[in-house]
């Protein structure tokens, strides 16, 4: 059974559709990336899944239940929204203690100490959150979201405002939760490099509809004419190499930039191309297949569906 199952979800505000026919599933232990430009409908979808909004049509189930109507189920869910959910006048300890009490965490003092240690804020335990930097507050927000060791974690831009070291800490934490503890993570992020590194499946939302939904690997591999970068030992041979390559069946285009030759071709043509170059005595230092990044895929999808990024 899918941990999160969204089917034909739609929501309108005052008659204007915000999302339409959204469907996706998230399995247990998966890190799922939910992507899209601002205004695409991500927040509305997340709010419906969390039970904060009622859908106009369709269903959003978490562990088979409507999260908004199941108080007990929400005990299994941790959420970090755009707002950290923290009280500026209360200390770091008091903020975490409040949520520990709400979730009835056993041995809250130990858990709070461990979490403050995890996010490297132990020395600020008694300081009011309002005095913290944006990054420190975000880390506190994350600590708050996992205080009860939830089975499912919803994270909205968890690394926003964090320095590179803290971003890595959060990434490692998410991967650890998913791989070691089999926790399910629903991640909304504009940081596509981060998504590419940690997510297994993604959905790309644009203008209220899902425009792409697949594993990161498939999305990066799909709809793509393979591109090879050839680095030559002798840059002067580049034009000759290009002429040779263009004669190989299945090669689409070839261009030269210094000592690097860029060739686009269908997958089966690659061995033929390399054989031809070696046979013609062109010395190659490197031949590398270029894989599209998730960012390339995202930009393609968003542009294709006529939106602004």
């Amino acid at each position: 059974m899918a941990v999160i199952a969204v089917e034909n979800l739609a929501k309108s505000f005052n008659g204007s559709p915000v999302i339409e026919d959204i469907s996706f599933q998230v399995s247990g232990g998966e890190v799922f990336g939910f992507l899209g430009p601002n205004g695409a409908g991500k927040t509305t979808t997340i709010r419906i899944v969390l039970g904060l909004l009622q859908p106009t049509a369709g269903t959003a189930r978490v562990m088979g239940s409507d999260l908004g109507r199941n108080d007990a189920l929400r005990r299994s869910v941790g959420v970090l929204l755009e707002n950290n959910g923290l009280y500026g006048r209360l200390s770091a300890y008091d903020n975490l203690r409040y949520y520990a009490d709400i979730y009835r965490v056993a041995d809250p003092d130990t858990r709070i100490r461990d979490l403050l240690d995890l996010v490297d804020l132990t020395e600020f335990a008694e300081s009011p959150i309002g005095n913290f930097s944006v990054g420190m507050q975000r880390k506190m927000g994350l600590a708050r979201a996992i205080i009860h060791d939830p089975a499912i974690l919803f994270l909205d831009e968890p690394t926003s405002g964090l320095d590179p070291e803290a971003q890595r800490l959060v990434r490692d934490l998410i991967l650890d939760l998913s791989r070691e503890k089999n926790r399910t993570v629903f991640l909304n992020s504009h940081n596509l490099d981060e998504v590419q590194r940690i997510c297994t499946n993604v959905a790309i939302l644009q203008q209220g509809r899902i425009r792409a939904y697949d594993s990161v690997e498939h999305l990066r591999a799909s709809e793509q004419t393979p591109v090879y970068l050839l680095t030559l030992a002798d840059p002067a041979a580049a034009e000759r190499a290009c002429t040779l390559v263009r004669g190989v069946e299945g090669v689409g285009s070839c261009s030269v930039d210094g000592d690097v030759v860029t060739v686009s071709l269908d997958g089966a043509a690659a061995p033929r191309m390399l054989r031809e170059l070696v046979r013609a005595g062109v010395d190659l230092i490197e031949a590398r297949r270029v894989t599209r990044s998730l960012e390339d895929v995202y930009l393609d999808v968003v542009h294709r569906s006529g939106g602004e990024v």
Binding site: F13, R47, L50, G51, L52, L53, Q54, L67, G68, D71, A72, R74, R75, V77, V79, L81, E82, N83, N84, G85, L86, Y87, G88, R89, L90, D94, Y98, Y99, D101, I102, Y103, R104, R144
Partner: protein, 234 residues
């Protein structure tokens, strides 16, 4: 119930920790209590006890509601403005537990501050008095039962309004409520002049009215939904 207690405890701690809000509330409570004291003393020279009763009866209610108004914004509207409420709504707490916890968390300190205001009123009224002036038993019952009921109702209704409406509507309502409460506080003099003795019947009727109002507030809270709150977060 445990969730309600958790929320109430945190709200109380936060309200008391918000020194600016508490000081403003204390200032108004003591100021109006202090203003009422001499009025009672002057007007009540011939019927001191009944005038004090009228003052305490009226002041206890109005100061309590005024302080509740001053403090509730810290707990309901501020949490909504800052967006924290969305996080709280996805915890295992029900919306009613959150609302009720907040009502208790504001009503308790508001009641304590209102009692301080009434204490000042009684103290100042006693300065020129030849014998110790104390509120009559019906007025004490009124202070102990009716005033907390009205304060809780006021906090509950204010919380309901602040959760239900957007920022602009809340700003307009704030001005209207503030003006109304100020008018009530400044109309004390006219009330004192009546010097009507407070009877058990009046107190019973006030307690009943408070209980009904609290019931209505509780019903009103049932109309709140997560969607209504989330959609009006600025």
């Amino acid at each position: 119930m445990k969730g309600t207690v958790t929320v109430a405890r945190k709200e109380m701690r936060q309200v008391v920790g918000t020194k600016s809000a508490v000081l403003v509330a204390l200032f108004f409570a003591v100021w109006f209590g202090g203003l009422g004291g001499p009025a009672v003393a002057v007007i009540g020279s011939e019927a001191a006890e009944s005038t004090l009763d009228t003052g305490v009866f009226y002041m206890g209610l109005v100061i309590g509601i005024f302080v509740a108004y001053l403090l509730s914004g810290q707990v309901f509207l501020r949490e909504k403005q800052e967006g924290i409420i969305a996080t709280l709504l996805v915890t295992p707490l029900s919306l009613r537990e959150i609302w009720l916890g907040k009502v208790i968390g504001v009503a308790v300190p508001a009641y304590a501050i209102a009692l301080a205001g009434v204490g000042v009123l009684v103290g100042v009224a006693n300065i020129p008095a030849e014998a110790l002036l104390l509120p009559s038993p019906p007025v004490i019952v009124h202070l102990v039962v009716a005033v907390p009921l009205f304060i809780a109702s006021a906090v509950g209704l204010l919380g309901f309004i602040q959760f239900l409406f957007g920022l602009r509507e809340n700003q307009i309502l704030n001005i209207v409520i503030f003006a109304g409460l100020f008018f009530l506080l400044f109309s004390m003099q006219a009330v004192f002049e009546t010097g009507i003795a407070v009877t058990w019947v009046q107190v019973g009727a006030t307690v009943l009215a408070g209980a009904v109002l609290l019931g209505v507030t509780n019903l009103a809270a049932g109309f709140l939904s997560k969607e209504k709150i989330v959609r009006t977060i600025p």
